[in-house]
C-alpha cells in the first residue's frame, strides 16, 4: 500500500496533484491531497458522498481554484497555465449539463469550436466521436428529447470531441440502467491505454471493475492509493480504512 503523503514516484505523470487543499469558510472539502496519475491508466476516485471527489475533479478542470497546493495537467499548471491545461482535458460533470434547446450535432459543434477546432475539423471529429459512443442516429435529435442514457452519451461525446489526453468522469454511471452501466464500463475500459481516464464513484464495485488504480478519499483526505489487480479484497480494505 502506498502512503498518500508519500506517493509512489511516477515519471512524467499526466496529472500531478501536490498538497492540494480546498477550504469553504474554514471547512476543508479537500485536505492536503497529493496524487500522481500515469499516462493511459484508468484511475478511480472512490469515497462516500461528500468525501471531496467532485471538488478535487473540479480543481483539476480549473473550475475551482485550490486554496493551497498545485495541480498540473501534462505539465501545465491548472491556474497559471489554465488554458493549456484545459485544452488537454475532456470533462463530464455528474449532472450531465447540456444545452437542451440545441440539437445534438449543434451542441457538439459548439463544444468542438469552443475548444479550438475549425469548422471542417469539428465536423469530422463529430462523425468520429458519434460513432464511438453510439450517437450517429441521434445527431439530428433535440437534446431535450433524449433519455438519460443518450444524454450521457452526448456528454461523453462533447468531452472527447477535441481528442483530449485526459478524460475526467464524475460519477459516470449515476442514474443509468444496468445495461447502460455495463456499456459505460466497457467504453471506459476501451479507452484505457489510448487516453488517461479519471473517474469518481461512490460505488466500490464500479471502480473495482473499471480502474487500474483506486484512490480512496474520506472527508477530503486521501487515505490510500491501490493497484486494483494487487488488491484481492478491496472491500475489506475500504472498510478498514473508512
Amino acid at each position: 500500500m502506498s502512503h498518500p503523503t508519500e506517493p509512489a514516484r511516477i515519471d512524467n505523470p499526466i496529472v500531478a496533484i501536490e498538497g492540494v487543499s480546498k477550504l469553504y469558510g474554514g471547512v476543508a472539502a479537500v485536505s492536503d491531497v497529493t496524487l500522481h496519475v500515469r499516462r493511459g491508466e484508468v484511475l478511480g476516485l472512490l469515497g462516500p458522498n461528500g468525501s471531496g471527489k467532485t471538488t478535487l475533479l473540479r480543481m483539476l478542470t480549473g473550475y475551482l481554484s485550490p486554496t493551497s497546493g498545485r495541480l498540473s495537467v501534462d505539465g501545465y499548471d491548472t491556474e497559471s497555465q489554465r488554458m493549456e491545461a484545459r485544452r488537454r482535458i475532456g470533462y463530464v460533470p455528474e449532472s450531465l449539463p447540456l444545452y437542451s434547446h440545441m440539437r445534438v450535432r449543434e451542441f457538439l459543434t459548439f463544444m468542438a469550436r469552443l475548444r479550438g477546432l475549425d469548422a471542417s475539423a469539428a465536423a469530422a471529429a463529430i462523425v468520429e466521436v458519434a460513432e464511438q459512443v453510439g450517437l450517429t442516429d441521434r445527431l439530428a435529435a433535440p437534446i431535450r428529447t433524449l433519455s438519460r442514457g443518450y444524454r450521457q452519451r452526448v456528454a461523453i461525446a462533447q468531452a472527447l470531441v477535441h481528442r483530449p489526453d485526459l478524460l475526467i468522469l464524475d460519477e459516470p454511471t449515476n442514474g443509468l440502467d444496468p445495461r447502460q452501466i455495463i456499456e459505460t464500463r466497457n467504453f471506459i475500459r476501451e479507452l484505457a491505454g489510448r487516453r488517461t481516464v479519471i473517474m469518481s464513484s461512490h460505488i466500490l464495485g464500479e471502480v473495482e471493475k473499471v480502474a487500474d488504480r483506486v484512490a480512496i478519499l474520506l472527508q477530503g483526505r486521501l487515505l490510500s492509493v491501490e493497484v486494483v489487480a494487487d488488491t484481492p479484497d478491496l472491500e475489506a480494505l475500504f472498510l478498514s480504512l473508512t
Binding site: R86, P97, Y99, M111, Q158
Partner: protein, 233 residues
C-alpha cells in the same frame, strides 16, 4: 477572438429563439408606437423628445427581463461548468452575453427608427436631437445590459437577477435626488451619477463627451465586475 465569435453565435441563437425576446420586443414597439401616434396626432410637432423619454423608461423596465437569464440560467442548468472548463477566457463569455443582449436592444431601436422616418417623410424635423436621442438610447442600453449581466452573474435565480438589475438602474435614475442630503463636494459626485442627468442633454441635441463617458465608464465597470464574479471560484 475566435472563441468570442463561437460564443456570440450561441448567445444570439439562444436570445433570438427565446420567447422572452419577442414578448419584450412586442411590448416595446406597441407602447412606443401607440405613444408616437397619439403625440403626433395631438401636437402635430415633428420631434421625438417625448418618445425618447418614454423609451428611456421602457428600457429601464424591460432590459432586466432580457438580461436575467444570461448567467442565472447557465448556473441553474450547470452548463456554466462546461463553459468555464473550456479553454476560453472568462471575459469572452461575459462579452458574448453582453453583446447578444445589446444586439437585441439595438434591433428594437432600429425598428423604432420608423418613427423618425415618418417624421422625415411628412415633416421637417430637427435631426440633431433625433441623432442625439438614438445615441443616448444606445449608450443607455450598453449600461443597462452590462448592469443586468452583472446581476445575472451573481445568482442562479432569474427573478432575483431581474429584480436586482431593475433596483440598481432605478437607484441610478434617482441618484441626483440624494444629493440634497449629501454635503459638498460629495453632492456633485452623487448628481453626476444620475442616469437621467446624462440622458437629457443628448435628447436636446447637445453632445458632451462627459455624458458619453459616464455611460461607457459605468458599462465597463459592470462588465469588469461581472468577469470578476465569473472568474472567482
Amino acid at each position: 477572438m475566435r472563441a468570442l465569435g463561437v460564443l456570440l453565435r450561441k448567445e444570439l441563437h439562444a436570445t433570438f429563439t427565446s420567447p422572452i425576446a419577442y414578448a419584450v420586443a412586442a411590448v416595446f414597439l406597441l407602447v412606443t408606437g401607440y405613444t408616437f401616434s397619439l403625440t403626433l396626432f395631438f401636437t402635430k410637432v415633428a420631434n421625438l423628445t417625448y418618445i425618447f423619454h418614454q423609451m428611456y423608461v421602457l428600457l429601464i423596465l424591460l432590459v432586466p427581463v432580457l438580461t436575467m437569464r444570461a448567467f442565472a440560467e447557465e448556473r441553474k442548468a450547470d452548463t456554466l461548468e462546461l463553459l468555464l472548463t473550456a479553454p476560453v477566457h472568462e471575459v469572452w463569455i461575459v462579452l458574448a452575453k453582453f453583446l447578444a443582449a445589446l444586439v437585441l436592444v439595438a434591433c428594437l431601436l432600429i425598428a423604432s427608427g420608423a418613427y423618425a422616418v415618418v417624421l422625415g417623410l411628412y415633416g421637417e424635423p430637427d435631426w440633431a436631437p433625433i441623432y442625439g436621442g438614438y445615441l443616448a438610447l444606445f449608450l443607455l442600453a450598453c449600461l443597462l445590459v452590462s448592469v443586468g449581466t452583472l446581476a445575472s452573474s451573481l445568482t442562479e435565480n432569474q427573478v432575483v437577477a431581474a429584480t436586482c438589475s431593475l433596483g440598481a438602474c432605478l437607484m441610478l435614475w434617482f441618484a441626483d435626488s440624494a444629493a440634497y442630503m449629501v454635503p459638498a463636494p460629495l453632492d456633485s459626485v452623487v448628481i453626476n451619477l444620475s442616469l437621467i442627468g446624462h440622458f437629457t442633454p443628448f435628447v436636446s441635441g447637445s453632445l458632451f463627451l462627459s455624458d458619453a463617458g459616464y455611460y461607457l465608464t459605468l458599462s465597463l465597470l459592470a462588465l469588469f465586475l461581472a468577469t470578476r464574479v465569473v472568474t472567482d471560484r
